[in-house]
Subunit: 432 residues, 2 copies
């Protein structure tokens, strides 16, 4: 690990990166559409900031700005065995919204605009392993959603490709073993969101040291509280119950959000702001650019409550609608609070004490960053709290207990586990 | 089977049903919105006819009217064992668009407006087995899409519930064994679309008489051309390739479709018409009503090409975008032509001869109806044609060979197999 940290420190020194907030008037090719008020790029590509209108049973209940990025990008990790040990080719990558500039990222993290080179920059390194006739064996290849609170129907293609050939390793890249990644996952703001979602989709290895209940949660054929058929039926029922509809509207028609020269902000000052930044970078494909970012106010919370049930560790998942998700409802952490919401706001009586008193055994606790390419200093506190038999196994209808294996099986398909749940699933491997 | 046909004939005689086309001006509570031109019901429920705008890489390429019915309805079959043989509780049900009035339908076929009784009619029979605390074991419970060419993101909840208690059987209902259903599936316009989609999701029994290649196609662990991982990756790739976007627009802004007092029709006279009908029925929940219907011009075609590969029968599936599907791309039959398209229009060179010359061994061939509650006389010719080793196993990138087992496994999840493919999957059980 010392090697890793030396490389990491060296990368930090080598990479110059200056991010400055600028008024919208200085965003260059980014401008507000005269009719809709939508914020977009002159090329018509990258992404736009538009408006979202949410209705509950047909009645308008909420509107907000939202990032619309219809293109499907690639988040890919190249993996390879060295002396029988699986290693991931990870990247030290800067993103303008990162609180600490550099984070540990997948081998490839590219929007379609990126890799088709709309911005006329350098080619994306290692992309050839993920497109066209592939050099390697595809282990994971699935479209997964991202933040439903901030993105309109955004999906990325999560891929893992196993190679056997030698690959030249560029100085911003490094082979990291899965056990090293497990340790690094405990460090605040190090493993970025894109790396976490790809890692979560990777077929899990069993953790080596464990008390038994977690190991059993990874295995097939173990006693789980529910069958997979029951879980799918529970999820179908939850989708059917949801009576919300969400549609894009012109940004200028979003109520109770105000735009001035520097930001678009909610009048309550509670949710997030849209700002513009100027970026100067030493090692990105392009040296200098400007772009909007979504800046949340404060820090989110995403908690998994875990409980052994008949000797098998189960995780409590919630079927929860989010405005921007394609089918609205996905499976969310037990507790998920957006920045601006407070643990005191947890309404479910059976979770209230846990959320506020700090009871339970904390088995994972770290602050991790969300997508630094679109969000400014967006951080979430991820926590896994184990409770005992005094916590109810019977839960309200939008909650369901699942094993790690059941969660992992669902990840072969898109639109089941939302991005925060996938992050937590990657954290499970680093549990104490 | 004689019993069945006697009951069927008797139901036909008992049920009076008169459907008359009426001008839009006589559609009662249905009217065109003064601004958007959308056709909707005064209650705001049921469905609307709106406009659809399709863009390819951002460029408008097509617009048409489309049925928007955001509610999720229930299509449910109650099943029960009698003397060790599984029977389905089927319904003789009239729909205004049916070419022959009465078709064999699931136990429950209810929109949300239906079963929450917006139209103040009678309660939906047997609905209690599918909602709330259920009387029975849920075998199937999945949201599946319907016609992407005519519906905007329509899904229904496909359910199968196994009961053990005695159930009173109303005169419009009858227990039908799976082997009887298999025979009935060969009859033109008898088993309706809603019954077919639910039957397709039912875990298959192995057909009793078979040459071996089909039986092997039903089994796990048999040699299939592709692994399930390869199939999922192929499908992800196909979704990523699709550069279409589709949005709802006001019906009045649909180009090259014209509305007069009696119909909305495409100026080419090729695709479909929106018409209004008046219905008088003896046994429906409501005795008299008016509604719009979508009337296709002519008959569609949906073909599965099947080929034994290393002794296992494989079916050739195509990843194909359809405008109205939630994620655009689903898995479609080898050949799918909408009414108005011709077999001579089949463009893929490797399918052209098959489509026009009638080569191959026809193992299933029947004309079946699409949803009679929304479509007027919509019929599709479903065909399964078996080819031999002279037909290429190597196919273009949007096609993929799959076994019955692989297709069935995907049906546990929504948005993989489109409605025509599910119909064909139900027909496989009736193959010669």
């Amino acid at each position: 690990m010392n090697d890793f940290w030396e490389w990491w420190a060296e990368r930090g020194r080598a990479n110059r990166f200056v991010v400055t907030q600028v008024p919208f008037g200085e965003l260059g090719e980014w401008s507000f559409h005269p009719e809709t008020g939508n914020l977009g790029h002159a090329s018509g590509r990258f992404f736009t900031v538009e408006g979202l209108q949410v209705r509950d049973a047909g009645v308008p209940v909420w509107s907000q700005p939202i990032i619309n990025q219809p293109e499907i990008g690639i988040l890919g990790i190249v993996v390879k065995e060295f002396d029988g040990v699986l290693h991931c080719l990870m990247q030290a990558k800067m993103e303008p919204g990162n609180v600490n500039t550099l984070q540990l990222s997948p081998t490839v993290q590219a929007t379609r605009s990126n890799y088709t080179q709309v911005h006329k920059g350098a080619t994306t390194r290692y992309l050839e392993h993920f497109t066209g006739p592939r050099r390697g064996q595809v282990v994971v290849d699935v479209l997964q959603s991202e933040q439903g609170a901030w993105f309109w129907r955004k999906r990325n293609r999560n891929m893992v490709v196993l190679v056997t050939d030698d690959i030249p390793v560029h100085e911003d890249f490094r082979w990291v073993s899965l056990s090293a990644l497990r340790a690094l996952m405990k460090v605040d703001n190090l493993v970025n969101m894109d790396a976490r979602t790809v890692l979560s989709c990777m077929p899990f290895e069993l953790p080596e040291e464990d008390d038994g209940a977690l190991a059993r949660s990874y295995q097939y054929q173990q006693r789980s509280l529910h069958t997979s058929g029951e879980i799918l039926s529970w999820f179908t029922e939850a989708k059917t119950r949801c009576d919300w509809t969400a549609t894009l509207i012109p940004l200028s028609r979003v109520d109770r959000w105000t735009r001035d020269d520097h930001e678009i902000a909610d009048d309550e000052g509670r949710h997030f702001r849209i700002i513009g930044v100027h970026v100067e970078a030493g090692t990105r494909e392009v040296k200098r650019w400007r772009q909007p970012l979504l800046a949340p106010r404060g820090q989110g919370q995403a908690w998994f409550v875990a409980r052994p049930i008949e000797g098998v560790l189960h995780f409590l998942v919630r079927a929860r609608p989010e405005f921007g998700l394609m089918d609205l409802v996905e499976m969310a952490p037990t507790i998920h609070l957006l920045p601006g919401e407070d643990l005191a706001d947890v309404r479910e009586p059976f979770l209230k004490e846990l959320a506020t008193s700090g009871s339970g055994r904390v088995r994972y606790d770290a602050v991790l960053s969300e997508e630094g390419g679109r969000f400014h200093h967006a951080m979430t506190r991820y926590r896994i709290v184990e409770v005992d038999g005094s916590f109810p196994a019977e839960v309200p209808e939008d909650f369901c207990w699942m094993t790690v294996r059941q969660l992992t099986d669902l990840l072969r398909h898109g639109h089941y586990l939302n991005i925060e749940t996938r992050s937590l699933l990657a954290c499970i491997q680093s549990m104490l």
